[in-house]
């Protein structure tokens, strides 16, 4: 079932018209597997950083994830809104010109757990990511880029409140 | 009509509602509660016929019944009188808006 949306008029915003190419019929397998708790390993390999996701503050999460601290760098371009239209869906993206990037992570400082997402960037993958995160309240969004073993960061405050006139 | 004007207007309406008359000192009885509730429900029924009920009236009516069920007739009467005042305000709003809506109409 392939919803044809190649014609430009079908797209509200003409941004790189692509079409849905969906061949394989994915099978939704809902079964219980013993998903062992894995030791906290550096983010650069494929293991799920369970420990890092448990940390409260962004500093602890960064330490649990990378075991070192980051320095701010203007080569890390963090794109986030001034005022989030809604705390449940905040579009946040990062791009960097730093060389051989192996990992990119996003932290939301005042969320119950600061680490929101951590990405492994194999060689040949462009160090730029866009995603949509949840934010509990107005706070700092921090993007960390691991480039040739060193950590670089960018930080931006995003305002978050509820909407509507109360009722 | 500027938003601040409607703010003042709302405050005046709610102020008028809150300063209801003073209550007799003796402990209220169930009968007093029943009469107060009947008046409030009649007013709310009329507001319903005018298709203009307020959610706050409904919550006060519910609070009145809940307080009465718990035997707190003083509280129940206070809530029923509040509901009555709110219902009457919503009736007033419906009747006054019959003509006043034109004030804001784009022409």
């Amino acid at each position: 079932m392939n919803l044809d949306r190649t014609s430009a008029t079908r797209r509200l915003v003409l941004k790189g018209a692509g079409s849905v190419a969906l061949i394989g019929a994915g099978v939704y397998l809902g079964f219980e597997t013993g998903f062992g708790i894995l030791p906290a390993l550096a983010a650069a390999n494929g293991k799920y950083p369970e420990e890092a996701f448990k940390q409260k503050s962004d500093a602890d999460a960064i330490k649990a994830l990378y075991g070192k601290t980051a320095e701010a760098s203007d080569k890390v371009k963090l794109d986030a809104p001034e005022i989030a239209e809604n705390g449940a869906v905040v579009p946040i993206a990062v791009a960097t010109t730093l060389p051989d990037v192996t990992s990119i992570s996003f932290f939301v400082s005042e969320n119950p757990n600061a680490l929101a997402a951590s990405y492994v960037i194999p060689a040949g993958t462009v160090p730029a990511i866009a995603n949509r995160l949840k934010m509990a309240k107005t706070c700092n969004v921090i993007a960390i880029v691991e480039s040739s073993g060193k950590l670089f960061s960018a930080t931006k405050e995003v305002k978050v409140t509820v909407g509507g006139c109360g009722g | 009509m500027s938003a601040t004007m409607s703010m003042i207007r709302n405050m005046m309406i709610s102020a008028v509602l809150l300063t209801s008359g003073a209550w007799p000192a003796r402990a209220a009885s169930e009968a007093d509660y029943k009469t107060a509730l009947a008046a409030a429900e009649a007013a709310e029924k009329e507001a319903g016929q005018l298709r203009n009920k307020w959610t706050t009236t409904e919550t006060e009516l519910a609070a009145a019944k809940k307080a009465a069920a718990a035997g707190d007739f003083d509280g129940a009467i206070r809530a029923a009188r509040e509901a009555d005042a709110l219902a009457k305000a919503s009736i007033f709003q419906a009747t006054s808006e019959k003509e006043r809506w034109k004030d804001m109409e784009i022409r």
Binding site: A88, C165 | R81, S90, Q93, S96
Partner: protein, 295 residues
């Protein structure tokens, strides 16, 4: 224009301590309401309506009014563009497409109930049904189609209805809204009733739809920015981040009512059908942009 306040002479209320501004008492009895057709002029209304908003927002292109809050604020527009790359209503849209072509138990499908098989017709809804003498909205027509084929009607505020209207809206995307008012006094009355509902203040907050969407579009109510009333229904149904789910026109009307502390009416009550008729008519010519994503 100073709004006079009539001092309410409620029997139940003792003399209020507050100084009461006694104003000209509005006659309690209802003045003869101008029901004559002369007083109702939808064409003039629509022109004035459109001019009000294009004057108020000269920098916003006419067809952009259908994007609601996103045409009012650059930072919000950027977030919307990001969302539209892969919009959250994708799933509802595809579910709606499946549902639309899945036959009822009697083998018929929605296509048999609608002109042109239901494809590319959303811009003509709601319409005035001269047999019934009332406005018929798309959501109502869909449920009537289900009942005509002995299927249970869907809730007007839940996902199934939103998916169906999302697909039908999608097939009409960018077509101009095209609502007609037949030369029938009942149609004019329905239109007027919708306009009256739109401008009537309700709820303890004493707001009308116009208080927010005519007086203060572009302004913040906490995090949200108010949409202009011009073309406000063109993007229906909408996926709202606030609800993290789809919302039909009915759901939007009901939640707006509760926000002003007015008790909502039954979905698809005459008032809602008429106000949808009014709002769609004055948006004639503006493109359909549903299904939409909203804060």
């Amino acid at each position: 224009m100073f709004r006079t306040i009539l001092c309410p002479a409620f029997a139940a209320l003792a003399a209020a301590a507050l100084a009461c501004v006694a104003a000209s008492a509005i006659a309690a009895s209802d003045k003869a309401d101008p029901k004559t057709n002369a007083g109702i002029n939808p064409v003039a209304d629509a022109t004035a309506f459109r001019k009000f908003f294009t004057d108020k927002f000269p920098k916003v292109k006419l067809e952009e009014f259908v994007n609601g809050p996103y045409s009012m604020d650059e930072d919000l527009h950027k977030q919307w563009e990001e969302k539209e790359q892969f919009a959250p209503y994708e799933f509802a849209l595809e579910t709606g497409k499946d549902m639309f072509s899945t036959p009822f138990r009697n083998g018929k499908t929605y296509a048999d109930c609608f002109p042109n098989g239901g494809i590319g017709i959303r811009q003509n809804y709601p319409y005035f049904d001269e047999k019934e003498g009332k406005v018929v909205t798309l959501e109502l027509a869909l449920n009537r189609c289900r009942e005509a084929n002995s299927e249970a009607p869907y809730s007007y505020v839940k996902d199934e209805m939103a998916s169906l209207t999302a697909y039908m809206a999608f097939t009409s995307r960018s077509k101009p809204m095209d609502i007609r008012i037949p030369n029938d006094p009942r149609a004019l009355e329905a239109y007027e009733n919708g306009k009256r509902y739109f401008y009537t203040r309700r709820g303890q907050l004493n707001f009308s739809c116009a208080t927010c969407h005519v007086q203060s579009p572009g302004e913040h109510i906490r995090a949200e920015i108010l949409a202009p009333a011009l073309g406000i229904l063109n993007a229906m149904p909408i996926y709202r981040s606030e609800w993290s789910g789809m919302g039909t026109t009915s759901r939007r009307f009901i939640t707006c009512n509760s926000q002003t502390r007015a008790v909502p009416l039954e979905p698809q009550s005459d008032e809602y059908r008429d106000v949808e008729y009014f709002l769609s008519y004055v948006a004639n010519g503006l493109p359909i942009s549903g299904p939409g994503a909203r804060p």
